[in-house]
Structure formats: structure tokens, C-alpha cells
Symmetry: C2
Subunit: 81 residues, 2 copies
């Protein structure tokens, strides 16, 4: 089984209240020099056999269909060793 990773993040123009809450808490917790924080989702998808272009295209289609809301989210598909 090989592992393909799908990273799903809100589009830059979309407000990220969770990320803002984290960034806002940093100074209170003693973390200086932290700018913007964005929170998203990470999916690790195991695929059978070798990862070829067809399998990557399948996972991309899975991301578009099920893993990301493409109206407000961007996603990136990559293979991790």
C-alpha cells in the first residue's frame, strides 16, 4: 500500500475564525513573533499497488467529490514516502 496525502485549506479570501483564535491566543501563552495561523484538514489515503498518474487522478477526483468543498476550499494532492 502506498500513501497519498491530500491537504485541504480554506481559500485565502475566506475568513478562518479557528486560525484567528489560535493566533490571538499565542501572545497570552507566551508565543511571540507568530503571524497569521490557518487551520485545514489533512487526509492520508492508502492506495493499492504502485502510485501512478491514474491513481493520483483518482485521489484528485476523490478530493473534489468528498474531501474538499471546492467552493471555499483549495486542495493539494502529493505522495509521501
Amino acid at each position: 500500500m502506498a500513501r497519498v496525502v491530500v491537504d485541504v485549506m480554506l481559500k485565502p479570501e475566506i475568513l478562518d475564525p479557528q486560525g484567528q483564535a489560535i493566533a490571538g491566543a499565542c501572545p497570552r501563552l507566551g508565543f511571540e513573533g507568530i503571524g497569521q495561523v490557518r487551520q485545514g484538514k489533512r487526509f492520508e489515503v492508502e492506495v493499492e499497488g504502485e502510485v501512478d498518474d491514474a491513481k493520483i487522478a483518482d485521489v484528485r477526483r476523490l478530493a473534489e467529490t468528498l474531501l474538499a468543498n471546492t467552493v471555499i476550499e483549495d486542495f493539494r494532492v502529493h505522495v509521501e514516502a
Copy 2:
């Protein structure tokens, strides 16, 4: 501003019902050859200035304190260009 990424995933021994629900839906949606699916969180943290060991250690401490529940989750800190 440089960007440091924190990937937070459930520990392997912890049940991942969301990932199982996705894996279970794949055959119904026409996706064959998909094995296990694990869902986690991805944080993009902007830090001021250059990313040096001290900044990485800061983000690591932030992950331990705020971003991950280290009882059931593992996290990985890495710099993305």
C-alpha cells in the same frame, strides 16, 4: 514572513471513525483500490523573520500546547517553501 506547517494526525492505534466513513463511501462512489483513509489537521503558521531552530522549537511548543492533544495525536513540524 515564513511559513511553518504542523501536521496533526491521530495516533495509529486510535480509531478514526471519520477516516473509516470516507473509506467506506469510496466503493459506493466508484473509487476502487482505496485502502485505509486517515483524517487529521493541518496548520499553517506564519512566523516573523527567518525560520531558525529557535523558531521551529517555538512552533513545536505551540503544537504541544495548543494544536495537538498529545495523548491521542502525533504531530510533525516542517517548513514549506
